[in-house]
Symmetry: C2
């Protein structure tokens, strides 16, 4: 017996074409607005006055769910679909994966003519769909692209000035200058202000001298550094000799510098630079992360990215911003796009995992009533419980991240202060919330597909491993949620009395006023389906919780600050603050989902989306029922009714589950998993094993 | 720059020895019964009347936590510690990993003289510690060993008779006959009774003919099949020609047969057998899973494993058991050891992940009060919230699985019916509950270690990927929990009125009687620390919940069965049934933990264990506070007090966290992660990257 290669590449082009035609014809034959006849629809209906399952037109739903600039994504999918040598096989060594990933990126830029850098600067919504599509081909490719264009390219363009743009734009865009973003150090990740690398100005030679003062300051996890990078944007403390008190050196805080690390022609590591390979990772092994140590590496003064602070020929510091902390905030503020893109692409990963899990759960049959055929595992209440609220969340996140992208684009145009604030906190909150949710969900999808979910070819392993770090990079989720909480507190304190709250925060003013009195003892008992499915009840519940959490944490912080100081008090309330931040993010997500339902032009589609939205809202309320019960916002009878309704809505959503995942409209090249194909799943699976 | 191999093997023996000595001296120098001075102990203390942190003697704690037969484990650790060529590198291809894993197993059996088969049959508690230690070297090795000894060896010995034992024992034990356990088919995993492979008796040649009737009946995921196996225990429907009604064939149900699949000398695949490679998996790539198709493969009649059913020379069926379903139950009953071992070794995996995460969280410092040193991330409430209840759970599971192993060993000796029942349900419940918990926890550990947790060398990726399938094999967790629920219902129905309940179920009788009345309105409001930390309050709460869930599901099932039939009613209540099963398992775990605390001979150790046990109990109650609030078992003020106490206990456990993980006493060869070493963690980490 020979071992059989499992790579997609092994399947010849011809067979793919035939299969696509077969699949297309199946789509045409299948009545799109009908349900799959599932085996026991009467099972959960029970009651007499249940509404009928909504009917759904896949075409309408797909149209409404279409990302803007879908044409750009299709160009990318088509480009890769016809180039089998660029497909990532199921098993690949780290060294080969890195080379393949670089080839994929180079082909995309040079052969397919996708030039991302302009979009990073001028039209981020196009950049985001490019990133999503690239990540669909291989998440490593998406991240490799992000390192080159958002991090390395973005830092040069956004933190530098015209001279940098003139010198670097084309070579970054066409990949002549692959580069790195060297911020994180071995001892400092989240605490960027604690970085220890120094850049000392030498007025004699008009240069900066870059130094790694100790092992803890080695730049660590730097993408593109181990193999491909020629430059790095290095974050370091700017030291000006003789400019401090009593003629000492002055530490001007963290600034960014362009540091060449390898020779442009020979690719040899440059003198004074020491590079090691961070080695094999849990996932994303197409990206070559390295560690960098600098020993008195000299760079010209022009290499300081000087948009927010500059050093003159004679070593004097100038800045339009008055303090170190304001300059630091402005510098980091330019990097917020990375969070937007992670939130956005994380939803893309969730959709892939869900498509595979739902399709397999419809296909797979196991057990059944005595002497009757076996039933699809998606007909089991437990499987619906695992997957249907997840499907609802994917829809909710789809609309919320779309909103975030729009706001971010608006911010890049207007630079309006209010929008800036909103985008900063919302991108932190959505990035943290969505990536944590997706990470957990991929594991649940794997588990819900049993043994076949454990075959690498069926994708859950690589999706989980690659996506895992989304929770950590571009801001650790626990830290980001604290930023959201901090922002809520700031707004509460400074603007609550008469001032304006920023857009997505606005509801707090209203809800504070109306809810901080005791809940209405009548409505807490209402348990009718009509009431529970009323968006204003659902939003009220979410916002009430946020308001309560905000108010109570303000009081607790005030109390503890007196004895513990502000740091100690913050830590003492930390779990509370994290819950507050999550609650706020959920409120925003629900509000955006409800808006999307209401804006839907097609009545049937709207009904389906309303069903999904209700499941999202009520499942979240049920998950946190303890909180609601504790403050008697919801009475026991109502809690029970919500629980029952969540089961029932999951059952209803199962009735349209196939259409809901088909509407994500993910091409085969993105799904790839044999068990996740729209048809012939088992036979594709046996085929890939060699039968 | 050269790529640097990250393999442990790269670290020379000498350096290891030096490091071990250094470490040992650190242990000796460190006052074992003192706390780590952590930065702000006053932070969470607040109240005036808080008890002081308990002091702990690591030696006493370690002694109490020592697994029986620790000497056998140390023999295995020492054997591998000195054989670098047998260490699994961080990155390894599937093909190489399979060969390495076979070499590891062969060396363990032939060079280290570990002979597991006798223990499988005669002293399973020794077998379980061998499995745990092997899994500590590489989880693939543990599973490869399990396939050979529990599955292949165990099925031959337990389902066969003396003739099989005589013929196969030695060759299985010394690895001359590597074998497989061919139960699962492509279309049937959980539903074993739905298997379609046939074994038809041919009375002319006195043989069975093994056949795969269709693609769905291909044996799938068969460990040891792709490369190494020479035999397989094949589960197939026994077909007897002319024995059915009207002279038709009779289907006697699922039986097990020994089928040779490769030539003993040449290792060529035998005629009629088709083997394909299931390929790369999410994890456990040291185990070679394959797919088997049989085309009229003939085996002698003696190859029927005939303990529970036999066929005579003239084709007549005999059995000591009257029905197909009784024989099926007896056959599967012999396989329950696999669940015991998975529950037991899953705790081992949890301990490894926790040791790494806790040690790194003590080492890692990030942020801090203004102008003061940074603080360990384990001093953050959020990090305590993530890791301390998990540490408490590992202790809880340790004692519960120890109990399960003892019961299992007792069962193998006595075959007492009550113990058999108890072990069946308890092994199903603990396997499902513990493996689900461990899977989630590994992800949380990874995330709580940030970027450095994502380096493959730091282990979380491989632990998660290897352990993931523990949730699925030897019984899908969702299916196993239903068995537990089913057993609870059976006991409720048949024995509740005056009959005896099996050992671990006994509490239900009492609690049913005392709790099904309304909760006592006075005690529901008690919120004193003494009351909340009283084991009888905690046990009451757990058991009350189980009793309520059991009673209410009985009523719901009764109601729905009338309209939906038993299958439909079961499905309609499925989420409820799963919650019931989990609740029961938690009750058993808590009871065993409380027992272990009370039995502890050393007072200080007992105090520490009591602290950990309280955290386990109250954290679980808080997690399900909605349920308790809904039935007013706990009043709002009490809920708030529990919440506060959980934070406080987490803070207290953090004070002894280092000792709690050190007491797991895992050797370096099991931990391996540089960031998880007891000392020098950062320098081991930079060293392994090449600095």
């Amino acid at each position: 017996m020979e071992k059989v290669a499992l790579s997609d590449a092994a399947i010849s082009n011809d067979r793919r074409a035939i299969r696509r035609i077969q699949r297309l014809s199946l789509h045409l034959l299948r009545p799109l607005d009908a349900f799959d006849g599932h085996v026991f629809p009467s099972l959960c209906v029970g009651g007499r006055d249940r509404p009928p399952l909504p009917s759904v037109s896949l075409a309408e739903l797909m149209e409404y769910m279409k990302r803007r600039h879908r044409d750009v994504q299709e160009r990318i999918f088509d480009f890769f679909a016809s180039r089998l040598k660029l497909h990532t096989p199921v098993e690949i060594s780290t060294a080969e994966h890195r080379e393949l990933c670089m080839r994929q990126l180079t082909a995309l830029v040079r052969d397919a003519g996708i030039r991302p850098l302009r979009f990073v600067l001028e039209d981020p919504s196009v950049y985001f769909v490019i990133m999503e599509a690239a990540g669909g081909i291989d998440i490593s490719l998406g991240i490799k692209m992000g390192v080159q264009y958002s991090l390395w390219g973005g830092s040069v363009m956004n933190l530098g000035t015209k001279k940098h743009k003139d010198k670097y734009f084309d070579a970054i865009d066409n990949l002549d200058y692959p580069g790195c973003f060297a911020m994180t150090e071995l001892h400092h990740g989240s605490n960027v202000q604690g970085l220890q690398t120094t850049a000392t100005f030498d007025p004699i030679t008009d240069e900066f001298v870059i130094n790694t003062p100790n092992d803890g300051a080695i730049k660590w996890w730097i993408g593109n550094a181990a193999v491909h990078g020629k430059f790095a944007t290095v974050f370091a403390r700017l030291i000006l000799p003789l400019q401090g008190k009593g003629g000492k050196s002055a530490d001007m805080g963290i600034h960014a510098f362009i540091v060449p690390i390898r020779d442009i022609e020979t690719h040899d590591v440059l003198p004074g630079v020491e590079i090691h390979d961070c080695g094999h990772k849990v996932g994303l092994n197409g990206v070559d992360n390295g560690a960098l140590r600098f020993r008195s590496v000299r760079i010209p003064r022009d290499n300081l990215l000087n948009r927010f602070g500059d050093v003159s020929r004679d070593g004097k510091y100038t800045s339009s911003l008055p303090t170190i902390s304001k300059r630091f905030a402005a510098t980091l503020g330019e990097l917020v796009g990375g969070r937007v893109v992670l939130a956005y692409t994380s939803v893309g990963v969730l959709k892939v995992a869900l498509t595979i899990a739902v399709r397999y759960s419809l296909l797979r049959q196991q057990f059944g009533p005595p002497k009757q055929p076996e039933v699809s595992i998606l007909d089991y209440q437990s499987q619906q419980h695992k997957l249907m609220p997840m499907l609802a969340s994917a829809y909710a996140f789809h609309f919320a991240t779309q909103y975030l992208v729009d706001e971010y684009s608006e911010m890049k145009k207007s630079h309006d202060d209010e929008v800036v604030n909103d985008v900063h906190a919302l991108s932190a909150g959505l990035k943290a919330y969505v990536t944590t949710y997706t990470s957990k969900s991929i594991s649940i999808c794997r588990e819900s597909c049993g043994g076949h979910g454990y075959a690498a070819v069926n994708r859950f392993g690589i999706l989980r491993n690659d996506h895992d770090i989304f929770q950590t990079f571009e801001g650790d989720n626990t830290v980001l949620l604290q930023q959201v909480a901090g922002d809520l507190l700031k707004q509460y304190k400074s603007k609550f009395q008469g001032g304006t709250l920023s857009v997505t925060w606005n509801y707090l003013k209203e809800s504070m006023a109306s809810y901080l009195s005791q809940p209405n003892p009548v409505t807490t008992r209402w348990e009718g389906v009509h009431h529970l499915r009323d968006p204003s009840f659902q939003l009220d519940a979410f916002r009430y919780r946020t308001s309560r959490l905000l108010q109570s944490v303000v009081m607790r912080l005030r109390k503890h600050t007196k004895t513990l100081g502000s740091f100690g008090a913050w830590n003492r309330c930390l779990n509370h603050l994290l819950t507050l931040a999550e609650s706020h993010v959920e409120s925003v997500i629900l509000a955006k989902f409800i808006e999307a339902v209401q804006k839907c032009p097609d009545k049937n589609t709207m009904d389906v989306l309303k069903l999904v939205c209700d499941l999202y809202a009520l499942d979240r309320i049920w998950n946190d029922i303890g909180t609601y019960r504790n403050v008697d916002f919801i009475a026991p009878n109502k809690a029970k009714a919500i629980h029952k309704l969540v089961d029932y809505l999951s059952f209803q959503v199962r009735g349209v589950a196939r259409e809901l995942v088909d509407a994500f409209n993910l091409p085969e090249i993105v799904i790839r998993a044999p068990i996740g194909m729209a048809s012939e799943a088992y036979s594709q699976y046996t085929e890939c094993v060699g039968f």
